[in-house]
C-alpha cells in the first residue's frame, strides 16, 4: 500500500512539473487553443469539393441567335462562369495556359449544323489535369446543354435514357438531406487538427529534456517508467481534449454541422484518439532524443498520412489493395468514421466501439514501444 502511495505521489509530481512547464512556455498553450481555431476556420471554409463559379471558356465563332442563346444558358448557371473567346484558337490557348478549366466550342457553322441536326454540334474540352473537376464540369455542362436544347424546342436532349426509362429512381441522402459536403469534411478536419496537435505537443517534450540534460536529472530519481510516461502524457492529453472541445463547438455553432451524437461519445472517442496521437509524439521524441529530428518526423508522420489516409478527401476504397491495407495502421481512418458518425448520424455504438477499439489497439502498440524504449537508468 505504501508503495502505491509513493508511486501516485511521484506521478502527481511529474504531472505538476509538466503542467508548470506548459504554462511557462506560452507556445504550448498557443498550440492547444489558437492552432485548432485557426486551422478549423481555414479548413472549414477552404476545403470544399462543391465546385461553383468554375471558369469555362466559350468560343463562339458563330454569332447567330442560337449561339447567343447557348451563351446565355451557360451564363445563367451559378456553377460555371463563362468567359468569351472569339475563336477556337484563343480558347485552346487559355485552356493550355490554365486560365480556364474547360472550353466550349461552337464553330462558325454551329447554327447551320444545329438546324439540320448533324451531330455533334458543340464540343466541350476539359482540363484533364484536374481529374475531379473535369468530371464535375462535364456533368454540369451536359445538364446546361440539355436545358438549352429543351429551351430551343428539342424535347429530347442528349441523356435520353432518363426520359425514356421506365424505372424511376428516388434518391435520398440519409443523415445529410441537403447533401452538404462541408458536413462530412469538417469532422475530417477535426481529425487532422487533433492528430497534428497531439503529436506536436508531445514530440518536443522528451527530446528537449535530453538536449538540455534534465533527463539525466529525472532518471537519477526513483521515478519509474510508467510514472514517467503517464506523467508526461497527462497534461498534453488534457490540452488536446480542450482543443477537441473547441473544435466541436466551432463546428456546431459556426459551421452549423449537426451534432446528433452525445457529448459522452465524442469525449470518449476523442480521448482514445488523443492518447494514440500524444503517445505517438512521445514515442518519436523518446527515440530521436533531438528536437530537430523529432519535429521533422512528427511533421512528416502526422500531416500527409493523416490527410490522405483519413478517407475524407481521398477515397480509401479506390486505393490499390496493398495501400488499402496500409491505411489500417493509421488511427485517423477510424477516428474519421467516429466523428462523422457522431456529428451526423448519432451514437451508433457498435460502429463507434469497433472503431475506438482499433484506435486503442494502435495506441497500445505505441505505449508498449515507448516502455521498451524509455531507459530507467543512464547507460
Amino acid at each position: 500500500m505504501r508503495g502505491f502511495g509513493n508511486k501516485l505521489e511521484r506521478l502527481l509530481a511529474i504531472i505538476e512539473k509538466e503542467w508548470l512547464q506548459v504554462f511557462r512556455d506560452p507556445s504550448a498553450l498557443l498550440v492547444a487553443f489558437a492552432l485548432p481555431l485557426i486551422m478549423l476556420f481555414i479548413f472549414g471554409y477552404g476545403l470544399s469539393l462543391d465546385a461553383d463559379h468554375v471558369k469555362v471558356g466559350v468560343a463562339l465563332e458563330d454569332r447567330s441567335p442560337t449561339a447567343r442563346a447557348l451563351w446565355i444558358a451557360f451564363d445563367a448557371t451559378p456553377y460555371l462562369s463563362p468567359i468569351f473567346y472569339a475563336d477556337r484558337g484563343s480558347a485552346e490557348r487559355a485552356l493550355t495556359d490554365g486560365e480556364v478549366r474547360a472550353i466550349l466550342v461552337a464553330s462558325s457553322d454551329f447554327s447551320q449544323q444545329f438546324e439540320s441536326g448533324i451531330a455533334p454540334t458543340v464540343q466541350l474540352i476539359t482540363d484533364g489535369s484536374e481529374t475531379n473537376l473535369s468530371l464535375i464540369i462535364e456533368a454540369y455542362a451536359q445538364g446546361v446543354y440539355a436545358r438549352f436544347l429543351s429551351n430551343q424546342g428539342y424535347e429530347r436532349g442528349i441523356s435520353t435514357s432518363n426520359l425514356a426509362s421506365r424505372i424511376n429512381v428516388e434518391t435520398q441522402m440519409r443523415y445529410n438531406v441537403s447533401r452538404l459536403t462541408r458536413n462530412s469534411i469538417t469532422p475530417g478536419s477535426i481529425v487532422l487538427i487533433l492528430a497534428m496537435i497531439g503529436s506536436l505537443l508531445t514530440t518536443l517534450v522528451v527530446a528537449r529534456e535530453w538536449e538540455r540534460g534534465t533527463m539525466e536529472a529525472t532518471l537519477s530519481t526513483s521515478v519509474g517508467k510508467f510514472e514517467m510516461i503517464v506523467g508526461k502524457l497527462t497534461p498534453y492529453f488534457l490540452l488536446g481534449l480542450a482543443a477537441a472541445c473547441i473544435c466541436a463547438l466551432v463546428s456546431r455553432y459556426v459551421f452549423g454541422v449537426p451534432f446528433r451524437g452525445s457529448i459522452f461519445a465524442y469525449v470518449l472517442t476523442s480521448s482514445i484518439f488523443l492518447i494514440s496521437a500524444t503517445s505517438q509524439g512521445l514515442l518519436i521524441s523518446t527515440v530521436c532524443r533531438s528536437q530537430t529530428l523529432s519535429s521533422q518526423i512528427a511533421l512528416l508522420s502526422s500531416f500527409l498520412p493523416n490527410y490522405i489516409f483519413s478517407g475524407v478527401l481521398f477515397e480509401i476504397d479506390a486505393m490499390p489493395a496493398p495501400i488499402r491495407a496500409l491505411t489500417y495502421a493509421f488511427p485517423a481512418r477510424y477516428y474519421t468514421v467516429c466523428l462523422q458518425t457522431i456529428f451526423m448520424a448519432g451514437d451508433v455504438w457498435p460502429l463507434l466501439l469497433r472503431m475506438a477499439s482499433y484506435i486503442g489497439l494502435i495506441a497500445l502498440v505505441f505505449i508498449t514501444a515507448m516502455i521498451v524504449k524509455t531507459p530507467t537508468r543512464l547507460e
Binding site: Q123, Q296, F309, F314
Partner: protein, 370 residues
C-alpha cells in the same frame, strides 16, 4: 567588398551543410521519408469512387428484380453487393458503414414492368456521412437503374455535346496529383531544412558565438538561406526526376524555366522558413511555426480541392500562398505545356514573398542580436 561578403556567406553555408552531414540520421530522415511518401501516395491518391460496397433489399419475387440485381455486377465500381432480407437489416448495414449506399427494389417491381405502359420506382439511400463519395456513387447507381429498362423506341437525338479531355484523356488521378505531391515533398524538405537554422543556434547557445564572429547579419541570413536552398534543391531534383522519369509525366515546358521557377520557389519557402526561425527563441517555437505554415499552405493550394471552390475572401488570401503559385507553374509546365508568357506572372508573387521574408528575417535577426 561585395565579393568578400559573398565568399563569407558561402563559407557559412558550407559550415551549415557540414554540420548537417555529420548527423547521418538527420540527413537520412530529411530525404528518405518525403521521397517514400511521394512514391506511396502517388499510388494511393484518388478521388474516384470505385470498389464500393452497396447493400440491396430485393422485395420483388418476379424475374425483373433479379435481373436488375445482376446489373450491379459492375466492376470496378462495386466490390460487393450485400443482400439483405428486411429494411431493418438494410438500415443496420448503412448505419454501420458496411455499405455506402442502399437499394430497395419494391414488391410490385416486376408487376409494374409487366404492364407495357407501367413504370416502377427504385429507392436509393446514400450515406450522408460521406456526402461526396456517396453522392457520386448515387449518380452511378441511378444511371445503371435508369439504363436497365430503356424503351427500345426511344429516339436518340444527335444534337449532342461532344466531350473530350485534354492532357490526361483517361483522367488518371495519379497524373493529376503527381505535380502536387512533388511540390509538397520539396516544400516539406525546404521548410524542415530551414526552420531550425537560427532557432537551433539559440537553443544550443552557439548563437552568441555567431554574433561575435566577423559575419554581418546579412551574410549570416544569406549563408543559411543558401544551405537550405541547397538541401531542398537536392530533394526537388529527386522528386521531380521520379515523376518525370519514373512515372513518365512528360516535361512539356522549357527546361530552363522549369529549373529557374523551381529554384525561385524553393528560395521563397526557405526564406519563409528563415523568417520563422529568426522570430523564434526556442526550437519548439520554430517547430510550431512550421506546423502553422505548412498544412494550411498545402491544403489551400488547390492540391486536393480547387482554389475556385473557396469563398472569395479566402481566395484573395491565397495570393500570399507560395504553394498555390508553384502548383500552377508545375502543372502548367509538366502536364499542360503552358506558354512561357503565361507562367511568368505566377513567379511575381514568389519573388515578392522571397524578398519580403529574407528582409524580415534579417531585421528580426539583427533585432535579436542587440
Amino acid at each position: 567588398m561585395f565579393f568578400e561578403s559573398c565568399v563569407r556567406a558561402l563559407m557559412l553555408a558550407r559550415k551549415e551543410l557540414m554540420s548537417i552531414a555529420t548527423n547521418r540520421l538527420a540527413l537520412v530522415s530529411l530525404f528518405i521519408p518525403p521521397i517514400m511518401q511521394l512514391i506511396i501516395f502517388s499510388f494511393a491518391i484518388s478521388q474516384e469512387v470505385t470498389n464500393a460496397r452497396i447493400v440491396a433489399l430485393n422485395l420483388d419475387v418476379g424475374a425483373e428484380g433479379e435481373s436488375l440485381m445482376k446489373a450491379f455486377n459492375v466492376r470496378p465500381i462495386f466490390r460487393e453487393v450485400l443482400r439483405v432480407g428486411s429494411y431493418r437489416e438494410l438500415d443496420e448495414a448503412l448505419e454501420n458503414q458496411r455499405a455506402l449506399a442502399g437499394i430497395v427494389i419494391p414488391q410490385d417491381f416486376s408487376r409494374s414492368l409487366l404492364d407495357p405502359k407501367g413504370t416502377a420506382t427504385v429507392q436509393i439511400t446514400l450515406d450522408g456521412r460521406r456526402a461526396n463519395a456517396s453522392g457520386i456513387l448515387g449518380g452511378y447507381i441511378s444511371q445503371i437503374v435508369s439504363a436497365h429498362k430503356v424503351e427500345a423506341t426511344a429516339e436518340v437525338s444527335t444534337r449532342g455535346l461532344a466531350t473530350r479531355r485534354w492532357f490526361n484523356p483517361n483522367l488518371v488521378a495519379r497524373t493529376g496529383f503527381l505535380p502536387g505531391l512533388a511540390c509538397i515533398v520539396m516544400t516539406s524538405v525546404a521548410m524542415i531544412a530551414s526552420a531550425p537554422l537560427i532557432s537551433r543556434e539559440r537553443e544550443t547557445g552557439t548563437f552568441d558565438q555567431l554574433v561575435v564572429s566577423p559575419f554581418s547579419p546579412t551574410e549570416i541570413v544569406f549563408g543559411k538561406a543558401l544551405a537550405g536552398l541547397f538541401l531542398s534543391s537536392v530533394a526537388a531534383a529527386f522528386a521531380l526526376s521520379i515523376i518525370v522519369f519514373g512515372f513518365k509525366i512528360p516535361l512539356k515546358g522549357p527546361l530552363w524555366l522549369f529549373i529557374a521557377s523551381t529554384e525561385l520557389y524553393l528560395t521563397s519557402i526557405v526564406s519563409i522558413g528563415l523568417f520563422i526561425s529568426a522570430m523564434s527563441t526556442t526550437e519548439q517555437q520554430s517547430t510550431l511555426g512550421m506546423f502553422l505554415f505548412l498544412p494550411p499552405a498545402i491544403m489551400l493550394s488547390g492540391f486536393a480541392t480547387p482554389v475556385e471552390n473557396m469563398p472569395q475572401i479566402l481566395q484573395s488570401l491565397t495570393v500570399i500562398n507560395t504553394v498555390r503559385w508553384e502548383l500552377v507553374v508545375l502543372k502548367g509546365l509538366l502536364i499542360r505545356g503552358s506558354s512561357t508568357a503565361s507562367i511568368l506572372p505566377n513567379l511575381v508573387p514568389l519573388t515578392a514573398i522571397a524578398i519580403v521574408c529574407v528582409t524580415a528575417a534579417r531585421v528580426m535577426f539583427k533585432r535579436r542580436m542587440e
